[in-house]
């Protein structure tokens, strides 16, 4: 049984992972801290952004100098794209740079909230699926949009728990429950996690995985937080799979009521 519990595989499209935590590569104080945090997180999939090479100053080392691509699966993202066209273009470039046809699809609709533009997101999903991409779209927590993304061929759906980088935790428990009910593809909560209990809650709600960046990279000790997140995702998953007790309004004693001393 112990062995059975330790084997909890997670499949998206044609790939199987043993970690349900996906992490980012932004905002770290140094590449060394990032590498240690990735290691501590136990993650097997890492998301990276696609950007223009700085032609006038190429002194900076490449991100890929620090990531062991034999150990981690790289998930290019289209972060910062505001239209379906930009996102599709970026995804195509990411495919050539990374030699994988997977993409974390982001089409942002509003600068301040960084909420997705779902209309453009669905359009970009359709286009990229047609081109053979494995598309993981970052979406709002709207169950109807999630269904449309599935219909468009998304390999997973990735609703937010709160705005990107906000650290507010899971603000939409009910919507995530509803999405969990009908989702036929893996459900990954992407964005909003601030601390370990947030990640555990997402998993307890039945998410198949959690994606985060800022909660780890922005912590005072990113390496320790990465380990906390690994444990939280695992704990939340186990708790979800274990079937929690029902919530009751009143107490229910754990000890026998017979044989009390003095009665």
């Amino acid at each position: 049984m112990a062995e059975g519990r330790s084997v909890d595989l997670f499949t998206i499209a044609d790939k199987t992972f043993s970690s349900r935590l996906i992490v980012g590569t932004g905002k770290y104080s140094s590449p060394a801290v990032m590498v240690q945090a990735h290691d501590a997180s136990g993650a097997e999939m890492i998301t990276v952004a696609v950007r223009r090479v700085n032609i006038s100053d190429r002194s900076k080392e490449s991100l890929l100098d620090f990531i062991d691509t034999s150990k981690y699966f790289l998930l290019p993202n289209t972060a910062g794209c505001y239209t379906a066209d930009e996102a599709v273009r970026t995804a195509r470039l990411g495919r050539e740079a990374g030699l994988s046809n997977w993409v974390k699809l982001e089409v942002i609709g509003d600068e301040r909230t960084l909420f997705p533009d779902n209309e453009q997101l669905i359009e970009a999903t359709r286009t990229l699926v047609r081109e053979g991409f494995v598309v993981l779209p970052y979406t709002t927590d709207d169950p109807v949009v999630c269904r449309k993304l599935e219909d468009a061929g998304a390999a997973a759906i990735m609703p937010l728990g709160a705005p990107i980088g906000s650290g507010l935790g899971i603000q939409n428990v009910n919507n995530l429950r509803i999405i969990r009910e009908f989702a036929r593809v893996p459900l990954i909560v992407d964005a909003g996690v601030g601390t370990a209990s947030d990640a555990a809650l997402a998993m307890e709600l039945g998410a198949d995985g959690v994606l985060m960046n800022t909660a780890i990279a922005g912590a005072q000790d990113p390496v320790a937080m990465a380990e906390a997140m690994k444990l939280a995702v695992r704990a939340g998953r186990l708790a979800f799979a274990s079937g929690r007790i029902p919530r009751k309004l009143y107490a229910s004693a754990s000890s026998p009521i017979e044989g009390l001393v003095g009665r």
């Binding site: 992490v23 980012g24 590569t25 932004g26 905002k27 770290y28 990032m34 998301t47 990276v48 952004a49 696609v50 950007r51 223009r52 090479v53 032609i55 190429r58 490449s62 991100l63 890929l64 790289l74 290019p76 993202n77 972060a79 910062g80 273009r89 970026t90 195509r92 470039l93 990411g94 495919r95 050539e96 740079a97 990374g98 982001e106 942002i108 960084l114 970052y138 990107i164 980088g165 992407d190 964005a191 994606l211 985060m212 960046n213 800022t214 990279a217």
Partner: protein
């Protein structure tokens, strides 16, 4: 000749292949993706793709990022 490279005007002796352009820029071709006049190139096409006067070239690589805010 003048081309548009990553959105900016750029002077380079040419025409030349994408492989030659990357070499002149001292960019490791294995670490980047290249778009030529809005078409993303397969890596094995770098040597056969000629960049002409007025062409648009985008050279991208991977940088740190989780989501949009994370690229500071």
């Amino acid at each position: 000749m003048q081309i548009t490279l990553n959105g900016d005007r750029y002077e380079v002796a040419g025409p030349l292949t994408v492989t030659e352009l990357l070499a002149q820029l001292e960019i490791d071709a294995r670490r980047v993706a290249v778009e030529h006049n809005l078409t993303v190139l397969k890596r094995d096409a770098f040597g056969a793709t000629i960049v002409h006067e007025g062409d648009e070239v985008e050279i991208v690589n991977f940088v740190g990022g989780g989501s949009w805010m994370a690229n500071g």
